[in-house]
Structures are given as C-alpha cells and as structure tokens.
C-alpha cells in the first residue's frame, strides 16, 4: 500500500469558530494508480491535497505513506518526504520568476544535496522528457502557459518521486494546451508513476482511472472509471 489515510480529521480555527474541513476521510491508494479528487469548493479537497502532499498535518487520524506514519512527523521530516517522494504541479505553475527553466527544475535537487555537476544533467533530462530541451535557459515570463506547466512537471519529476500531486494543473490553460498537459500525465502514468489529480472539471477527471468525490469534508463517492 502506497498511501493509507485512516479517519483523517482536519479542524481549522477561524476566529472563534472551529471549521471541520475534513471530517473522517479514509482512502487507500496503491502504486501506479491514476486518481482524481473532485468536489465543489469548500468540500475539503484542497485540505485533503495539502495533507496528502505533506504540507499540512491532520488534527487526528493516521496517514501512512509507504508504511511511514506521516501524521506524526516533524517539519524537517515532512520537508524530506516532500522533497523525495512527492512532486507538486500547481494551477499557477509556481515557478521562481527570476530563475531559468533549468534552475527551476534543479531546485528540488539542491535541497537534497545532489552535487552541482550531477544536478544540471538530471534537470536537463527531465526537461527533455517534457519536450523543452530548447527552452532550458528561458525564464518563466519568456515561456507560454503550457510551457511553464511543463517546466513545473519536469520539476515534479526530477527527484523520481513516488507520487505526482497535481492541483488543477489545467486550470490556467486553454483547452488545447490543457489536453497536451493531460497527455504528458498519461505518459507519466504509463511509465509506472502514481498520480493524484485535484480538479473540478469532469472532462479532466475522465482521464483518470478512479474518482474520489468529496462533499462537506467527507467522501461522497469513490469509484473506478
């Protein structure tokens, strides 16, 4: 079992009120699954993604990642998991604006101490994989939206993580470019990667093999497609 969520509860304190963003979510994800998390805004899908991505810890419940108990980890350990095991792809790309495509892709390698000489090579390979070999030395503002997202995917892949976590990856792209990006995800999936997609678009979710629907902090439906 790659991911095991067991009765995850997340409560936020908003002013004096307590808001239950997640109210007992249990999910199991095995390797090489391609799954979408869907739900209207306020359903808790962002919170679930943050917890899956080890950016946040649950208020209660157990989260096992590759048999490690993530829900008990400290900040440094979480950072290490994020660095080695999780590749993030965001709706707004989240690239460093002043750095070149190559440097952006190198970043995760910097934080796990890969020597500079190796870093460049690995990053170049990752960029070649997403078809950006000729755009390596461009900065994000010199790239199109689709190209930026491909840089972000290369960055997510560069450490060979166990899962790719994509939060509305096509949300800021036109339909055609969005389709291109989805094709890349499919390729990645075929190579044996596990992908978790957060989206609210049915046609995007249709690319996946399993859809987990959230409503009011609970799983409404969990179905294979």
């Amino acid at each position: 079992m790659l991911i095991e969520l067991d009765d995850i509860v997340k409560i936020y304190q908003v002013g004096t009120e307590k808001v239950g963003a997640l109210q007992g979510v249990s999910v199991k994800i095995v390797e090489n699954e391609y799954l979408a998390i869907m739900g209207p805004s306020g359903s808790g899908k962002s919170t679930l993604m943050n917890i899956l991505g080890c950016l946040d810890t649950p208020t209660s419940g157990k989260y096992r990642f590759d048999n490690d108990l993530v829900s008990e980890m400290n900040d440094d350990q979480l950072a290490e998991i994020r660095n080695r095991e999780i590749g993030f792809v965001f709706q707004t790309f989240n690239l460093l604006p002043r750095a070149t495509a190559l440097h952006n892709v190198e970043l995760p390698l910097i934080y796990n101490g890969t020597p500079a000489s190796k870093r460049k090579k690995i990053a170049q390979q990752a960029l070649e994989m997403v078809g950006l070999a000729d755009r390596m030395h461009h900065k994000p503002n010199e790239l199109s939206g689709g190209q930026r997202q491909r840089v972000a995917i290369a960055r997510a892949l560069v450490n060979k993580p166990k899962i790719i976590l994509a939060d509305e990856p096509t949300g800021n792209l036109d339909t055609r470019t969005g389709e291109e990006i989805m094709e890349i995800f499919e390729e990645i999936h075929e190579q044996g990667n596990t992908i978790i997609l957060v989206t609210h678009e049915e046609y995007i979710a249709e690319h996946t093999n399993r859809i987990v629907r959230l409503r009011d902090g609970k799983i409404e439906r969990d179905e294979s497609v």
Partner: protein
C-alpha cells in the same frame, strides 16, 4: 545527513536576490558603509600616527630627562611657572654636572628660530640649538659626515656649527658643505659636521636643526632664554632614583623652601607617550561611538529591508518549502542574504575608509596604514551586524506556513 543546502548555492541565491533590487540593496548598505568607513578611516590614521609617533619618540630616548621651568603636561599655572627662577647654565647646569652620580651626560640647551644663508640660498625658521658636546649623547645626534662639536669648541665659543641633513641638502645642493661658511641669523659659522637624517617628530622637522656652542649662542642671541638641561641617565633601570637625585640637587641650588613644591620640572618621553595615549584613546572612543551608531542604524536598515524582502517573497518561500526546503534552509538563505548586504557595505566601507585615510594623510603630516588586524576586526564586526539584524527576518521566513505562503498574492 545534509545539514544545510550548498553554501555556494546560498550565496548565489542571495546575490541574485540582491541584484534584482540593485538600488535598494545599495541604499541599504550605505549605513554600514558609513560606519565602517569611520572606524577604518580613523583607525588607519591613528595607526599611521602611532607608527610615526613611536619611531620619532624613540629618538628622544626613554632614558633622557629634560629639566626646565615648564612641565610638558601641566596646563595649570602657566603664569606661575613663567615667573619661576630661570634655569641657568652657571647654577643648575654646573650643580648637576658636579653632584649627580646617576647620570651619563648633561647637556644644557637653548634654542631659537633663525634664518640660515649660504651664498644666495636661504632657509627660514631653522631651529638653532646652543648646547655642548654632550648633546650628541643626550639627544642621540650623530654626525654622518664631519664631526660633532668638541669640549674645546664649546669652551672657546668657536664659530662652528653642525647642520641637520635637510639644511645641508637645501643650502648646498650637491656641494660638500664641510668647511664652508654660512650665516646663521646674520653671524658667520663654519660647518664642521652634518647630522644623519632623523625624520620628523609630530610634524616638527628634526632635520632642519643647526647646533652651535652654547656660550656663543648666549653671546650672540641673548642669554635670557629658557634653558633646558638634557640629562642622559647612566642606567635606565634607575630612572626614578636619578629623578630623585636630580630633584634633590635642584631644590638645594634653587633654595626651594622644604614646604613648597618644586619650582622646576623634570620631563621625560613617557609623559608625551602618556598624553598621546590619552588623546588617541579619546579619538578611538569617538570613532567607535560614531561607527557603532552608524552600524546600528545600518543594521536596522538591513533588518527593515529583509522584512520587506521576506514579505515580497512569501510565495517563493512557499514554493521552496513545497519542493523540500526545510526551515533551516530558508533561514540560511535569508541569513546569507543579510550577511551579503552587510559584507558588501563592509567591503565598500573598508575601501572608502582606507582611501579617505590616504587622502587625509597626503594632505597633512599624518600618515595612514591599514593593518590586517583592523580589516579582520572590521569584517568580523560586519558579520555580527549581519547576523544580529538578519536573524529575525530569516527566522520569520523560515517559520512561514507553506500552505499560506503558496497562496500568498
């Protein structure tokens, strides 16, 4: 186990961030520049001053005492001192020579400023010293060419003189001065010796001196001049005993009432050194004060700009954290940035300070030296400022919640 991200990587990130805001970075460093410039500038001038001071004060000799009506240090009662009995050759000079046992040489001296001429060449404000043959011992003056005055020259008040290195150089150019006649304050003298080069002492040129027999000096230029008796101690270890002995002799011949204080002064090099130390200590205190204030102001500027920078780059921090930067990596990144700003200011400050000191030195008689120690201390100080004022913004950055940071617009 990796402790921190690559050091060079951190420096690279810092300089990229700084060069993205060149004007801001430059203005931020100004406070540091001013602080370090002040400290390095004053320090190097004092260092230069020290060097020339201690070389020239050593020319005075630590084992030479200067007996006169005035104390070099007393600022009080100048009028009282002026009305004291004169120190004379016949009374005090003779008494010391006769009774002092702990001294090696005694040389009474009188001096005046006179114009010295040779043919058409003229040199103004030359210090003419009337003294005896023992002046060579008490003042460490050695003729480089020719000879010093002898006892016979002094006793017979011969019209002979020993001239300083610069007097010889300026009046005679390439000619050999020995045996030639010069006019000192209108009177003819024959040059018998030329002193070796001695340099200057606190801006006073020691090489424009002319030495003549004391008796002749008093006859030609008047005898009612303040006399200083230079006394060379036989054994430097017995300097206090020698002073006591001299005090006894002087009080006796000057008939000082046992209930009254000395009406003369025994001066020595240490007194100048002490005075000098007090002056430079005060200067150091001023430099340190001004420098510290500027550094604190500069440091606050750095802290301020770092806080702005952390806020501006909240999203960047979120991205870095999402892809695996630990809190200490972020802390390190911003700390290096603060250090980079302060060191940049520091390096500029050191260079500007040194250049300023050189300019001051070339415009005045002061000299300037920058010791490696002062540079090291400066850099250490700057680093402390960088760390001290950088740690809070860096800590704030490190503690940011990655989720909120990622959503920050």
């Amino acid at each position: 186990m990796r402790l921190l991200i690559d050091f060079w990587e951190g420096i690279k990130i810092a300089f990229q961030a700084l060069s993205a805001n060149k004007m801001r970075s430059f203005l931020t460093t100004l406070g540091i520049v001013i602080g370090i410039t002040t400290v390095i500038g004053i320090h190097s001038i004092i260092q230069g001053l020290n060097k020339s001071f201690y070389t020239s004060i050593s020319a005075l000799g630590s084992d030479t005492l200067y007996i006169g009506k005035f104390s070099w240090l007393s600022r009080t009662d100048w009028l009282e001192a002026r009305n004291r009995k004169d120190i004379t050759l016949e009374r005090e000079g003779r008494a010391i020579k006769e009774y002092a046992t702990l001294v090696k040489a005694v040389a009474p001296t009188v001096s005046a400023q006179r114009t010295v001429k040779y043919e058409s060449e003229k040199l103004k404000n030359v210090q003419v010293t009337g003294t005896t043959e023992d002046y060579a011992v008490t003042s460490n003056v050695v003729p480089e060419y020719g000879r010093m005055l002898t006892k016979q020259d002094v006793d017979h008040r011969r019209n002979l003189c020993v001239i300083g290195w610069e007097v010889a150089d300026k009046l005679f150019k390439n000619k050999n001065p020995l045996g030639r006649r010069i006019l000192i304050g209108g009177y003819k003298f024959r040059v018998i010796g030329i002193l070796e080069k001695r340099g200057s002492f606190l801006g006073h040129n020691l090489d424009t001196e002319v030495i003549i027999p004391i008796g002749l000096f008093q006859k030609l230029y008047g005898s009612r001049r303040w006399l200083t008796i230079e006394v060379k101690i036989a054994d430097p270890a017995l300097i206090e005993e020698a002073k006591d002995e001299l005090t006894g002799i002087l009080r006796r011949v000057r008939k000082v009432d046992p209930r009254k204080e000395n009406d003369f002064a025994i001066n020595q090099q240490d007194m100048i050194a002490d005075l000098y130390k007090r002056l430079t200590t005060a200067l150091y205190a001023v430099a340190f004060g001004v420098g510290s204030i500027a550094l604190i102001v500069g440091g606050i500027g750095i802290m301020n700009i770092m806080l702005v920078s952390v806020t501006e780059r909240t999203r960047e921090i979120g991205i870095r954290k999402a892809i695996g930067a630990r809190n200490r990596d972020i802390l390190w990144q911003f700390l290096i940035e603060a250090l980079a700003v302060s060191s940049l200011g520091g390096v500029i400050g050191i260079i500007v300070g040194f250049v300023l000191a050189k300019i001051v030195a070339s415009a005045t008689f002061l000299s300037a030296t920058v010791s490696p120690i002062s540079v090291i201390i400066g850099i250490l100080f700057i680093s402390l400022v960088g760390i001290f004022f950088g740690i809070f913004p860096a800590y704030k950055a490190a503690k940011l919640d990655p989720i909120h940071a990622l959503r920050y617009e």
